[in-house]
Amino acid sequence: MTASTVEAAQAVVEPTRYWTRQRKVGVGLAAVGVLAALLFGALATGRKAEFTLAETISGSAVGINGTVGAVLFGAIAALAGAAMLVTAKRWFGWLLGVGIVATLISFLCWQLSQAPDNLNTIPLGSVARSSVTLALPLILGALAGVLCERSAVINVAIEGQFLMGAFAAAMFATLAGSVWVGILAAGVGGLIIALLLAVLAIRFLVDQVVLGVVLNVFALGLTGFLYEQLMAKDQTRFNQPTFVPEWDIPGLSDIPLIGPALFKGNIFLYGAIVLVVLIHVGLFYTRWGLRTRAVGEHPAAADTLGVKVLALRYRNVLVGGLVAGFGGAYFTLLSTTNFNKNMTSGLGFVALAALIFGRWSPIGATLAALFFGFCSALAFSLGSINSPIPSQFLNMLPYIATIVAVAGLVGRVRAPAADGTPYIKG
């Protein structure tokens, strides 16, 4: 009550202050733009930097002199930042977008102009497709997190659900000779961990962060043991699934840049899109969503109004498990066609970060995941053109970018008020 009154009051007072958040970001962006123009402009060579929207560098490309490009696009970013001072709140999103993209192009002009011959083209279609592919498990994991945490159960066990899903998918897809059976099994794998999470968190009131960590250890040990006992002994029989089929959408898949990224997809891509929309609409426009959010913010109040708090939490955690398990199948049916120990390599925790970065909303989390995927894809692309940036820094890129974005752009994030607190009917 009081908090919202204060915020409303601030919103009324705000226009009288000159240094709004938008103007501060504008100054920051202008500074970054000037810095980019100077730094990248000085480092770039006069050779050509080429950009193509295709998936490989064989097609036609747009080229620009490296130094000119680096300075020009740095200046554009600086202008976008300066414009924010004038326009303040209006067009903030657009200007910010232009500023970030221009800074990025300035940077790429430097990188491409110093690359060896025949490597000074960046295939943006491939970067876009890689970004989306790398983001998929993060999106699905974060959605599982949204379902759990919106109803106030912290889910640190996404990693474990991924692993169980990945293992079950590889094993059952191989045994049944069908990827669809594998995907079903993956859902069940995720469900098993979710069931443990739900019962122990909701029924037995165990500390949810500790519980999540323990479930991850359990999943890692169990899949490792089964891998050793079954798969390692007979790879052909237990660990040789096939890829999920690629479903191109005719016409749309030929669009440059977004075609290969969004319309040359597979069950995981289209499934993720459907789930994001479903969960977003469900959470904010349906009775289920209203009740879920109520249970996450103030379970006692929801209970008073007749919502079955615990039943709803059970249901949401279990559905979350299905989603994360489905995400786990990505690892063994899309990334590759085998299971290896600990193959999820901490991505469950990155999904958790995307959930927080995206402010516990399905669309926010998706954007955060895509951002993370893009940074990784960009780092790999720069590696493939023999960038002089030490590999350690390239690999840090997604993490540094995330920290900068969280600190500078996202503002204060707030978890659901009851997140992590068990509900005891009193």
Binding site: F204, V214, V217, T336, N338, M343, S376, S391
Partner: protein, 363 residues
């Protein structure tokens, strides 16, 4: 009250998970202490014990190879007892694992991997009467540690030359798991092999993902993340590469799985058609480190000798300690001329007329 019961269940899960993980990794060292003696042992009493690095016993790579060597040694010599192993979960486990085995009376303590150098040095000094051996490292001055090292750059050089000759797009690529010498030595040799092809044929084949001069390139920072392996490979393919050599353990499986007919893969450590059979049709060849043979020899020699093993082992093309594997399914796709040149190059390297150098080479 309920949370107490809950915590109990949680502890069972935690213990269950850890135990399953451990069970998967072979026998944990028992704590019984035996009496070790280094006198020439009777039949079946020379105990061989192996501590893996964090890759674990089933890494389809060098830990698995070393273990294969120990089990083969047992089959070869009746002086050996059944070998034992323990997997290290973290680098902090190296010292305790090695110490436990030494105190249990293991006569031959094998440490696998350069990451264990310091731990082996420390434990070997504290157990001067036991024989130690280490793969991929050497400990100067320690008389009871037998070093086994491999000049992998020699074999990788051949693979680089072969890849350059095989490539139609004139672009070949490599990436590593981590930037550490046992990984970069492959990449150095590979890059030099390509460079040698270019000087011999006056050609311009490019190496993506590694620059030997600056020692900088592409790394997955993981030996397990196959999604990264796929993404790195997609990046190389987008730039036009048609041969890729991943030096990244499990991460490389992502590259092998996605090869289809887009690119050929050069595998490392153990012949890909044995260690990852399902992807055999993607493997142009493998840069093989013959760890099993080296370990077997050392264990058998250790059982036969009365004192500590002297000298050291260096795997080269000459003693077959490193080699490139058969072409398997690529046999018909590699021209006879190119095969001949690779064989000739091997002879030249052995004869010393072609020198292979890498900053990561064993000294």
């Amino acid at each position: 009250m309920r949370s107490v019961r809950g915590m109990r269940i949680v502890s069972i899960l935690a213990v269950g998970g850890l135990a399953a993980g451990l069970a998967a990794c072979g026998d944990a060292p028992e704590s019984s202490s035996g009496t070790g003696s280094s006198a020439a042992p009777a039949a079946g009493t020379y105990k061989t014990c192996m501590v893996t690095d964090i890759g674990g016993i089933d890494d389809r790579s060098f830990n698995a190879s070393a273990w294969k060597g120990l089990t083969e040694a047992k089959a070869d010599s009746d002086k050996l007892a059944e070998p034992k192993n323990v997997s290290s979960k973290a680098e902090a486990d190296y010292v305790p694992n090695l110490t436990q085995f030494a105190q249990q009376g293991c006569n031959f303590n094998l440490a696998v991997g350069g990451l264990m150098t310091d731990a082996t040095k420390q434990v070997a000094a504290a157990n001067a009467d036991k024989q130690f051996a280490i793969v991929d490292s050497a400990i100067p001055g320690a008389t009871n540690v037998y070093p086994m090292q491999f000049d992998t750059a020699q074999a990788a050089f051949l693979a680089g030359y072969l890849s350059a000759g095989y490539s139609k797009s004139k672009k070949v690529a490599t990436y590593g798991g981590l930037k550490i010498p046992p990984v970069t030595i492959f990449m150095d040799g590979f890059a030099d092999g390509v460079a040698y092809w270019n000087t011999q044929k006056n050609d311009k084949v490019q190496v993506l993902g590694w620059d030997k001069a600056t020692q900088n390139g592409s790394f997955a920072e993981s030996f397990t993340d196959q999604g990264k392996g796929k993404a790195l490979s997609d990046g190389f393919v987008a730039q036009g590469a048609d041969v890729i050599m991943p030096v990244a353990g499990g991460t490389g499986l992502g590259t092998a799985a996605n090869a289809a007919d887009k690119y050929a893969v050069v595998w490392v450590d153990v012949d890909g058609c044995e260690s990852a059979q399902q992807y055999c049709k993607a493997f142009l060849t493998t840069v093989v480190k013959n760890i099993p043979e080296a370990v077997k020899e050392a264990a058998v020699k250790g059982a036969d000798s009365t004192g500590m093993l002297t000298g050291s082992y260096l795997g080269t093309l000459e003693n077959d300690g490193v080699s490139i594997a058969p072409y398997h399914e690529f046999d018909s796709k590699v021209s006879a001329e190119l095969k001949g040149e690779v064989d000739k190059l091997k002879a030249d390297i052995i004869a010393g007329t072609v020198k292979v150098t890498s900053p990561a080479q064993p000294k």
